[in-house]
Structures are given as structure tokens and as C-alpha cells.
């Protein structure tokens, strides 16, 4: 009964013929259905209101115990730290932080790590994290919660978040005076942005018993059992305008929706109305009114997908997710201009939010396992679950499978003259009821040649994936005086040229190209679906761009359309796609610049992005670079081979006449 083996569906009968004739329309229909489905999700009929699934969290059930006194302590700490920062321009004031932690009564430890930079001449970077553990009275150090704050020295290029550490310490001071903690609390100050956090987690979960790779994370002297959740603080100033919750983690992983809801609930309770809190929150002053809700929702969903797709965490929280520790970042964005009166007005509400979250987490009786791990936020209180959004991806990647099937079906379609002959035969045999084997033309599918192209393409893809890591190659380029940026770009260009030429090594006939096309489509579709399951955002956005290839590319077009096809496929080259993305981002970032200037700037930015993605893949385990090179670059090469086929290359084989 399988559709592929069903003899009633072949190129000769009515259904098959219609399918073949309208294949592009069918594919387009699927594609559009996917797009429409996604847009529908923006409507409140198709998404759901968020709710707390885990009863143990019961947010806001306890009275807030943190008092103005703690806010004052935070303010004092901030003043002290600002004085320290004048002395330590490029490093962390370790002594000050450690002394404070010790005074509060925490167990204080430091953690050293070394990064052997994987590119270039292999420079070394050192860093040191500081953390203090509050041992919970109600438990024997079997479980823990992490509160972390990245420390940025004054010379850092990132926004100033000095206030995070004082807030963290003030909260630690508060917790030390309470006896209801049932999970050890770790207060962690990380060095060197995400690298410090990554190193700390590596040390926590891997120790130093295994051989270190690029990052020598060492081991930790103090631990607190199984980590349950983490809250990362990025407080720009105690005079905050609004709170922004960052959730996207490494490789597009998200924290449990309960964790996000928890923050939302508690923030709604504790924060004053003029200080909103939310995912991708923007300044409340900029809010325009009376906008189309569905459009806004779809925009919000797309913007979440965009920030998820590159697999880069938006904050230090993103590195926890792979260890199944639910984590997010709370970012307090400071007011553009602050007056003296409102100085420090946000400290107490912030502390109350942190207290509320910590006490809810303290109540947890089991690991986060309820609610959703895969979701798209439509707004702060509405979401779409995986069951609702995965059909979009399937509808978009589906046409590739369908197209492959139609191509397979069309492989043995006959010429009209042949059909006439057939008809005579038919009439002669009409009385017979037996299944008659269809007269086939001689097909030359060139399996081995197609396999060869397939292997060559993937070998090149694999090389593109591993070459940048190669120590020897890096050394050579470093001695030539090239920066790692130039090295990576050079490699990318070389691979692009190879990708353009390599598939043409193997000669293919008409049928061979068809087979290659089928193989390409099948691989592409599977890869898109698999990538979509691991990181929906990436899979979905790639499908939007790539799926039209299935609909457009066809052998029977005339020359001009073929040319367009080729142009389109060139546009799909991973390097060009990434350039396009960077270009759009740059255009958005610098609307005042001219197009040419932006285009130039984007080239530099693409080079940087390429280098970062390589580094991310080596150090953090972000697989976007590897997926793009191994799967998509190889696939693009095969697709390129398909569109480059011209009839002149090798004529269509003569049909055998009966």
C-alpha cells in the first residue's frame, strides 16, 4: 500500500500525470501553508496563555523579607566597588570581592582557567572566577542553585554592568541571615564574559580528570551537589528603566518555560508599574499604541527565532542549559538620564525579585521537568508549544521530499510518440486483467558517479569543518603574519571556489543529474528537519530560504529561467547567505550610512562572524558552523552541480523504441 510501490500511481496514469504537471504548484502550496501556519500562530486563537506547571514553585506565596537595609548595603557595596574599579582598570578586584564574601560568611573559592586560543599562533588567556557558597542548613549539600554575575572591568567594550556584583553580594548577605535554605546557594562572579562561565561549568561537570582541549578549565575546590537552576544578573545601574529577560542559550536551547514564567510572575508582583519586565523588553517610553496585535506577535516570534538561530547564547545563562540546569539572565537596563532623586530606586524591587525567585526555587522538590522546554514566546504571557510550531517546519521542508518523489516519478516519463505505440499495445491487451509491466525506456542512473559526487562534496564539507582547527595550518598562517580573521576568511574563500568547481569533476548524463537532484533534495530535507528538531529556529529560517529551491529548480525550464535558477542557487551559498544576514543586520544597525558603506562594513563583519562561529564551535561546542559546512555546504555543491547541467553537456539518451 506504500505510495512509492503503488502501481496505480505512475507517470502513465491520470493521477501521476497531474502530479507531475502541477508539482511546482503543490510544492508552493505546501510552502505557503507553512508560512500561513506560522503567521496564524500569532493569533490568540492559536497560541496559549502561559501557566505555571510546577506546583512546588508557587511564586509569590511567601512574604518578601528583604528590607531597605539590604538595599542600603547594596548601595554601599556599589560605592566601594566603584572606588576599587578606579584602581583595577583591566582586572577584577579579587581581594575586595573575596573579603566581602568572607565577611558575609560564605565559603569562598577561586577558580583559575586557561584558554589556549585555538586559532592563530595559539595565544593563552588566563582568567579567574570567584565564588562563594552558602551552605544550606536544611540539606547536606546535595543540591544547589547558582546566582551569577559577570564582572566587566572598566576597559571592557561591553555595556557597564558594575552594579551586578554589589546586588549579588547584598542578596548573599541577606540569605546568610535566613535558615530556611534547602539548597546550597552559589554566588558566582565570572571573569571574561561567557568564557569564564563556560570554564566554571566545565570544571563543575567534568573536573580535570579528562585531558583538556582548547580550554583548560581545571577543577573546583568546592561544590554544591546537583545544580537545579541558575539566575544570571546583568545590572547596568540601580536606577533601572526596565528589566529584560534573556533566555536563548547555546545551540538555541531554552530554559524551562516554568522558569521564565516564574520570573514574570514575581517581577509583575514586585516591580513598580513604571518598570516593566519581559522577554525582549524595550523601553516603555518607546511603546507605540494601537498596533496590529497579530503582526506584532509574529514579529516578536520571528525576532526570538532570529536570536536563537545562530546558536550563540545571549548571556551567561545560556551555557547552563546543556547540563540541564534551567537558567536565564535578568538584565536591568539603566535609564538614559538619571536624576539624583531616583538614584538607587530599583535596588529594593530588584532584590525582592531575586528573593522571590530564590525562595520559589528553594521549594523545588524535584528537577524542572514539567512545562515546556521547546516553545516560542509570542508575548510575555503567551506562547506556542512545539506541537503547534513544528508543522510549519514540516510544511516547509515537506516540498523537498515531495519534489524528490515527483522527480523519481518523472524519471521514466515517455515521449509522446512512445505513448502512441503504447496505446496500440494497450488495446491489444485490454482484455487481459493481469498487471502488465510498463514498458520502460533505458534508464542510466549512474549510481556510482552520483555516489562519487556525494562523497566528494561531503569530504570537502568535512574538511571545511575541521581545517580551521588544525594546529599546524594555524601555525603556518601565523608565521606568515596573517591574523586568524584573515586565515578563516581565506579558507572560506578557497572552499567556496573549490565548492564551485569540484562537483564538475565527475561527468554526468541526464539521468545521473536527475538522480543527483533526488539525492540532494532528500538529504537537504532530512537535514532541515533534523536541524529543526535540535534548533527549531535555525531549521525553520533555513527552510524559508532554501525550500523555494525545491520549487524553482527544474530541468525543463528554458534558458533564461535556468539562468535565474543558477543565480538563486549562488545566492544560497552559505557564505553569501551569512553575508546577506550580516548585511541586513548592519543596515538595521546603521541606517544612516550609505548602502555602499554598509556593504563594505558588512564584509568585515562577516569575516568576524565567520571567525567567531569557528571559535564558538571549538570552545563552546556550538554546532552551527559544523552543520553549515558538513551538511549545507556539501549539499549546496550537489545542488550547484544540478543547476549547472546543460543539455549540451551530454545529450539526453536516445529512447528505445519498441
Amino acid at each position: 500500500m506504500g505510495i512509492l510501490t503503488d502501481a496505480s500511481l505512475n507517470q502513465r496514469n491520470h493521477l501521476g500525470r497531474n502530479f507531475l504537471k502541477h508539482n511546482r504548484k503543490i510544492c508552493a502550496l505546501f510552502y505557503l501553508a507553512g508560512a500561513v501556519w506560522f503567521c496564524c500562530l500569532g493569533h490568540s486563537q492559536f497560541n496559549h496563555a502561559t501557566y505555571l506547571s510546577e506546583n512546588a514553585l508557587s511564586p509569590g506565596l511567601v512574604y518578601s523579607e528583604i528590607k531597605v537595609e539590604s538595599a542600603r548595603i547594596a548601595q554601599n557595596y556599589l560605592d566601594e566597588l566603584n572606588r576599587e574599579r578606579e584602581v583595577y582598570r583591566s582586572g577584577i578586584p579579587y581581594n575586595w570581592i573575596m573579603a566581602k564574601m568572607q565577611q558575609i560568611g560564605l565559603e569562598v573559592y577561586t577558580h583559575n582557567f586557561t584558554l589556549h586560543y585555538p586559532l592563530g599562533s595559539g595565544r593563552e588567556f588566563h582568567g579567574e572566577n570567584i565564588y562563594g557558597i552558602l551552605r544550606a542548613p536544611r540539606i547536606g549539600s546535595t543540591e544547589g542553585i547558582v546566582f551569577s554575575a559577570p564582572y566587566r572591568p572598566p576597559e571592557s567594550v561591553h555595556p557597564d554592568i558594575t552594579a551586578s556584583v554589589p546586588l549579588l553580594l547584598a542578596f548573599a548577605e541577606f540569605t546568610r541571615r535566613k535558615n530556611y535554605w534547602a539548597k546550597d546557594l552559589i554566588f558566582l562572579v565570572t571573569d571574561r564574559e561567557q568564557l569564564g562561565m563556560h570554564a566554571w561549568l566545565e570544571a563543575y561537570y567534568k573536573g580535570d580528570l579528562e585531558d583538556a582541549s582548547a580550554l583548560d578549565a581545571g577543577n573546583l575546590k568546592g561544590r554544591a551537589g546537583a545544580l537545579q537552576a541558575a539566575l544570571n544578573l546583568e545590572i547596568q545601574d540601580f536606577d533601572a528603566e526596565y528589566l529584560n529577560v534573556k533566555i536563548e542559550g547555546l545551540n538555541g536551547q531554552l530554559p524551562n518555560l516554568d522558569m521564565f514564567n516564574l520570573i514574570q510572575r514575581i517581577a509583575a508582583r514586585e516591580l513598580p508599574v513604571r518598570e516593566p519586565c519581559g522577554y525582549k523588553q524595550t523601553s516603555p517610553r518607546k511603546r507605540a499604541k494601537n498596533k496590529n496585535a497579530v503582526l506584532e506577535n509574529v514579529k516578536a516570534m520571528l525576532s526570538m527565532l532570529l536570536s536563537q538561530a545562530n546558536g550563540v547564547p545571549t548571556g551567561n545563562h545560556g551555557l547552563f542549559h546543556r547540563y540541564r540546569v534551567e537558567a536565564l539572565t535578568l538584565e536591568a537596563v539603566k535609564k538614559p538620564k538619571s536624576d539624583y532623586q531616583s538614584r538607587g530606586a530599583a535596588v529594593l524591587p530588584l532584590l525582592k525579585v531575586i528573593e522571590g525567585v530564590s525562595r520559589s526555587l528553594n521549594n523545588l522538590l524535584e528537577r524542572f521537568h514539567q512545562s515546556y522546554f521547546f516553545y516560542i514566546l509570542v508575548s510575555n504571557d503567551r506562547f506556542v508549544s512545539i506541537g503547534d510550531f513544528i508543522p510549519c517546519l514540516l510544511l516547509m521542508a515537506g516540498p523537498l521530499f515531495i519534489k524528490a518523489f515527483f522527480l523519481w516519478l518523472g524519471l521514466n516519463v515517455e515521449d509522446p510518440e512512445m505513448e502512441k505505440c503504447d496505446e496500440d499495445e494497450k488495446q491489444a491487451e485490454s482484455s487481459q486483467t493481469e498487471l502488465k509491466p510498463i514498458v520502460k525506456k533505458e534508464l542510466d542512473l549512474q549510481y556510482s558517479k552520483v555516489l562519487r559526487i556525494f562523497l566528494i562534496a561531503h569530504l570537502i564539507g568535512f574538511l571545511a569543518s575541521v581545517m580551521p582547527e588544525n594546529r599546524g595550518l594555524n601555525e603556518v598562517f601565523a608565521t606568515l603574519g596573517l591574523s586568524s580573521n584573515q586565515f578563516i576568511t581565506g579558507l572560506a574563500v578557497v572552499f567556496s571556489i573549490v565548492a564551485l568547481l569540484a562537483p564538475h569533476i565527475v561527468e554526468l548524463n541526464y539521468d545521473g543529474v536527475e538522480l543527483l537532484h533526488i539525492v540532494t533534495l532528500l538529504e537537504l530535507a532530512s537535514v532541515l528537519v533534523v536541524v529543526g528538531l535540535l534548533n527549531f529556529a535555525l531549521g525553520f529560517l533555513l527552510s524559508i530560504v532554501i525550500a523555494p529551491a525545491a520549487i524553482l529548480v527544474d530541468r525543463n525550464h528554458n534558458a533564461s529561467i535556468k539562468c535565474l535558477n543558477r543565480f538563486y542557487v549562488i545566492l544560497l551559498h552559505p557564505l553569501i547567505v551569512s553575508y546577506g544576514v550580516v548585511l541586513i543586520l548592519t543596515l538595521n544597525a546603521f541606517p544612516e550610512l550609505g548602502l555602499l558603506a554598509v556593504a563594505q562594513r558588512a564584509i568585515g563583519a562577516t569575516m568576524d562572524a565567520l571567525t567567531y562561529s569557528v571559535v564558538d564551535s571549538i570552545i563552546y561546542g556550538n554546532w552551527v558552523y559544523n552543520a553549515v559546512t558538513i551538511a549545507f555546504l556539501s549539499n549546496w555543491m550537489m545542488l550547484w552541480r544540478v543547476v549547472c547541467y546543460t543539455k549540451t553537456e551530454e545529450g539526453r539518451p536516445k529512447l528505445k523504441t519498441s
Binding site: A7, P137, R177, K206, D208, Y323, K426
Partner: protein
């Protein structure tokens, strides 16, 4: 009223003294208070009952010794028994060593009479745990052969001479229940074992509201029988009930503290049945002024370490008001103390990434100037299958070979993995002992039914003999009172420390899956039945005649229903001649061709 009470009291008191002389029974209550260097306070209660049994006396007539305990000795052939119920973890680095060590949750081990066979020991052990479960209201009845091990090197018997000790080999059973939560329901039966119950004496300080609000508290029962080698009937039965509590000054509020602040009330006198009722206060550091001032300060030099104890004999204090001791800090500086860690500390943790395999690492730190020989007893339940070949001991990433490895592989659902490793920890170094394990799926009923933190691994026990007594407060094996540890210098000091217990999140199936699977399976069967049936019963014959028909004309035909004959002839038809076995084959169509 007062007079009556007093008379009654005196009558009681004197009868008690007289009878105690007759029965050769003694009872001592001791309280040891030690302000810890990091601002926490350790209070250690010990209630010792000693009963000299002579020929002709039997265990049926008890006086100070609780009857339940005597019966246990009588029925279960127990020579030595230790039970502890602990909440929290003893922090060796900052607190030094406790007088009596215990692991988080419930821990229990017992030595049985040397003349029992193996099977008898097992059965007595099971019965013993079930009985004690009732006595202490703890879940000790969950101890069975799946979580019991037989320590070989790490534990030593504390009864009898070397002869009986060698006989005792193989008659020990040890188990922990790391998940056990200690609460007031354990404290009350524990107090009921005391002669004065909780009404008077030191035990009146142990009120559940205050004891359970502390940083660490551990209730324990230690029982041993010491018998004469020649005359077997001459025995001493010794029952020690200990409560080890750590208070946090910050939680008490302020740097000064007192008995009343810690326990909610002062001491209402000594237990009249007690021979001695003494409070010892560690005043070595001299950070506090004591009120009232102690009448006596004892200097104890043990293993080269001198400790000063202020002594309060509560029996001598007047009974007309509640007795209270206050500690007033001499200096009110917000300084951070520098704490020198004890010679040997240990930690245990799990290293893993993902849900496939992991590593249990036991980290033993020796900060002593000389090497220390230790025996590590790993406690690995059956649901954590370990691989012995992955057992590695490393010092600074260099492998060292253990001196001895005693390993009894576990069996799923039958017995735990028993691993004892003896090794030398070099001076001033850290040894990491690691062993790999697999995550396994359990049977669906073996997952806890309610919300659970995960599956627990009990703490490892590390035994050693320390050459000095830095931070050591243990009572020597030949003594039974806390006072016996004064000036008790020995060639070595036997020490057992315990690591933290661990939580492991085993891969847990989604238990709503069966429901989903049933729904899905039903749908699939329902959907698949029709086509499979038709494929199995029909024979498909295809004839096709090619014509070109646009969708539009087809639609027209569909809409208007009637077909012209020409159209009919031209129409391509699929003829499915159904040669079905079943009767209703009225679907048959005739081919036009």
C-alpha cells in the same frame, strides 16, 4: 506545694541512689559546648548508661537501661550497635572533627555474636532494623540486603579484646539511608530512651523547635556489650545516646549567645538519676567571657595538643532557678577568622555530562606533614553500575596504585556494590579516587511515586589512624564518657570521616508516555486495518487509456453529475476487480474496454 514537691523529689532521689548501688547501673549526662572558629557553635550531648551484669542477672529486669534496648540485645545477638539520624553535613574544614561522626540521613551498623552463621546474621540484621525502625520512628525498615554491605577493613569493633574482635570478623552489617529526613518524630522516641525522659536534666534542653532549627543536628544511639573473656556472664552493657548540634550565631542573632538563646530555655537542674551532670565548655581560644564563671578549668593535653575546658557541675548548682551560661564576646571586631583545616578531609562528587555515563569521584585531602594510610569504603547502590577497571587513584594527575582493593560486585535489585580501597595519601596532597558508572533505566515501579530530588548515593566512609589530635575530639575506645578524652594520649587516633551523599538524576521516562502510546497505537491500528485488509483481499488490475482532461471539465462533470456517452468512453478508468472472499462485492465495476 513546693515543700511537697521537694519531699517527693528527695524521696525519689534517695531511692534512686540506693537502688542504683544495688543494680550496678550508672547514668551520666554530659554537655560539651565548643564555639567554632567560624562563628558557629557545636553542642554535644552525651547520655551514658552503664550496666554491670553479673552471673545470675538477666536482661529482663531493667532499671535505667531502656527495656527495648535490653530486649534487642537479648533477642538479636547484637554485640555492638550504632544508629545515627542526621540532618545536614558536618563541615570538617571549618568545624574540625566531631566527637561522634555520622553521615547525612540514617546510618546504622551492628556487630553480631561470633557464633552466628552468615545466614543467621542476615536474618537477625533484617529483624533488628525492622524493630529499631519502630523504636526510633525512622524508616530503618527499608534497610535490607539491597543496601547492606559487610565492611571488611574500614570498621573496627569496639567491644571485647582482640580475641573476640577476630571472631567478630564477618559479623558486621552496615547500611545507610541517605534520603531519611530527621524530624521531631525521631527526637521524641530518642528522648524516651533516657531515664529522666525529657522533663528534667540535660535532655530537657532538647526541644524540637530549637533542635531542628539548627545548621546540623545528629541524634545517635551507640550500644556495646563488653564481656569478660573468662567468665562469659560478667558483662557490661553500655548505652550512649548522643546529640550533636551545630548552631549558627548569625541565626541566633549577634555575637553573644547563651544556653537559653540556643535551646529556648535554661537548664532546670540535673537528672536525679544521673551520677554526674557536667557541662564542659571549650575555652581554649578565650574569645568569650563566661557568665557565671566556671568553678574549675581543666587542662587536657592529648597528643601534643592542649585544650582548656571550663567545667560546670550542674549537680552542685542551686536548683531554685533555671541554670544558664552566657558567652559574651570579648572583642567585637568584624574580622574574618583564618581557619586551619584538620589533617584529613574528604569530599565526593559526580562528574557527568549527559545521561549516559558518569564518574563518582572521592577526593581525599591530606594537609598533614606526613603520609596517611586510609581505607575508603565506597557506598554504591545497585542502580549505579560501576566498572572496577575504571577505578583510578590519582595524585596531581599521576596515577597511584592502591594498596588493597576489596570489591564485591553488586547485583541489580539484589545487593549494592561494595568497594573498599586502602591507599596512602602522600603528605600535603589530594588523592582523587574515581570510578565510572552507567546511567540505567529502572523498572517503572522503582521510580519513587512522588516528587523526588533524584536517586541518592550514600556517603563514603574514610577511616584512618591519625598521628596527632589536631581538631580531634573523639572519645577513646576504652572510655565511655566525654571526660575520658581528657589527657588520653595514644599512639594513634582512630578516625572515621564521611563524605556528602550524592543525588543522581537517573534517566526518567515520561510516565504519560503509556497513555500516549496507547492512543497512538489504537489510532495506527484503526488506520492501518482498512488498507491492510483491502490489500490482503483485493487484486488490483490496472488498465489505462490516455486522454487529456483538464481539471475544469472534470469538475464540470462532477458538478453536473451526468456524463455523456463519449465522455464515458473516453474516460480513463481504473478498474479494480475485486475478487474478494467476502460476499458484498457490489462495488464491482465493468470495464468499458
Amino acid at each position: 506545694m513546693d515543700f511537697k514537691c521537694a519531699t517527693a523529689f528527695y524521696i525519689l532521689f534517695w531511692t534512686a541512689v540506693i537502688t542504683s548501688a544495688n543494680h550496678n547501673e550508672e547514668f551520666h549526662e554530659e554537655l560539651y559546648v565548643k564555639p567554632l572558629p567560624n562563628g558557629q557553635i557545636n553542642t554535644f550531648f552525651q547520655f551514658t548508661t552503664r550496666w554491670k551484669l553479673e552471673a545470675g542477672q538477666n536482661l529482663d529486669h531493667t532499671r535505667l537501661m531502656p527495656r527495648t534496648i535490653a530486649e534487642i540485645l537479648n533477642i538479636f545477638d547484637v554485640k555492638e550497635l550504632h544508629i545515627s539520624l542526621t540532618q545536614g553535613l558536618w563541615r570538617y574544614e571549618t568545624w574540625g572533627y566531631p566527637v561522634v561522626d555520622s553521615s547525612p540521613g540514617a546510618e546504622m551498623w551492628a556487630w553480631f555474636n561470633g557464633n552466628l552463621t552468615r545466614a543467621q546474621v542476615d536474618s537477625q540484621w533484617k529483624k533488628l532494623t525492622s524493630t529499631l525502625s519502630g523504636v526510633l520512628c525512622a524508616s530503618l525498615n527499608f534497610i535490607d540486603m539491597t543496601n547492606t554491605v559487610e565492611p571488611k577493613y574500614g570498621f573496627r569493633p569496639q567491644f571485647g579484646t582482640s580475641k573476640t574482635n577476630s571472631e567478630a570478623n564477618g559479623h558486621i552489617r552496615y547500611a545507610t539511608l541517605p534520603r531519611e529526613i530527621v524530624c521531631t518524630e525521631n527526637l521524641t522516641p530518642w528522648k524516651k530512651l533516657l531515664p529522666c525522659n525529657s522533663r528534667i536534666g540535660f535532655s530537657s534542653l532538647l526541644t524540637s523547635g530549637h533542635v531542628h532549627n539548627t545548621f546540623y543536628h545528629s541524634l545517635a544511639v551507640h550500644l556495646r556489650t563488653l564481656c569478660d573473656d573468662e567468665i562469659k556472664e560478667n558483662c557490661i552493657i553500655e548505652l550512649r545516646e548522643t546529640a550533636n548540634i551545630v548552631y549558627d550565631q548569625k541565626l541566633l542573632g549577634g555575637s553573644d549567645f547563651s544556653l537559653r538563646k540556643m535551646f529556648g530555655q535554661g537548664l532546670n537542674g540535673a537528672c536525679s538519676l544521673a551520677d554526674t551532670s557536667i557541662i564542659y565548655v571549650d575555652v581554649t581560644n578565650d574569645r568569650y567571657t563566661l557568665t557565671p564563671e566556671p568553678k574549675e578549668v581543666i587542662t587536657s593535653t592529648r597528643g601534643g595538643v592542649t585544650t582548656l575546658f571550663a567545667v560546670y557541675n550542674v549537680k552542685e548548682e542551686s536548683n531554685d532557678k533555671l541554670f544558664n551560661i552566657a558567652w559574651v564576646a570579648k572583642e567585637r571586631k568584624n574580622s574574618v577568622p583564618i581557619i586551619s583545616p584538620p589533617p584529613l578531609v574528604a569530599h565526593r562528587y559526580i562528574l557527568n555530562h549527559g545521561q549516559e555515563r558518569g564518574k563518582v569521584v572521592t577526593e581525599i585531602t591530606n594537609s598533614h606533614w606526613g603520609p596517611l594510610n586510609v581505607v575508603v569504603q565506597e557506598n554504591i547502590p545497585w542502580y549505579v553500575p560501576v566498572y572496577l577497571h575504571t577505578l583510578t587513584a590519582t595524585v596531581n594527575k599521576e596515577r597511584i596504585t592502591p594498596k588493597l582493593v576489596h570489591y564485591i560486585p553488586g547485583e541489580q535489585r539484589e545487593r549494592p556494590y561494595h568497594l573498599e580501597v586502602a591507599l596512602t595519601v602522600p603528605a600535603k596532597s589530594v588523592v582523587r579516587l574515581s570510578i565510572d558508572f552507567d546511567f540505567i533505566f529502572l523498572k517503572w515501579l522503582e521510580y519513587p511515586p512522588d516528587a523526588n530530588h533524584g536517586h541518592y548515593l550514600g556517603s563514603a566512609v574514610i577511616s584512618t589512624v591519625l598521628p596527632n589530635t589536631k581538631n580531634y575530639t573523639g572519645i577513646p575506645v576504652d572510655g565511655y564518657l566525654f571526660a575520658h578524652s581528657f589527657n588520653a594520649s595514644r599512639p594513634g587516633y582512630f578516625l572515621q570521616i564521611r563524605t556528602e551523599s550524592l543525588i543522581l538524576t537517573l534517566p526518567t521516562p515520561d510516565f504519560s508516555m503509556p497513555y500516549n502510546v496507547i492512543c497512538l497505537a489504537c489510532t495506527v491500528v484503526a488506520l492501518a486495518f482498512g488498507p491492510i485488509h483491502s490489500v490482503a483481499t483485493k487484486k488490483i488490475v490496472i488498465e489505462s487509456r490516455e486522454t487529456s482532461h483538464s481539471i475544469l471539465s472534470k469538475l464540470k462533470r462532477k458538478l453536473f453529475g451526468k456524463k455523456t456517452k463519449e465522455e464515458d468512453v473516453a474516460e480513463e478508468k481504473e478498474v479494480a476487480e475485486e475478487k474478494t472472499e467476502d460476499a458484498g462485492t457490489d462495488l464491482e465495476k465493468e470495464s468499458e474496454c
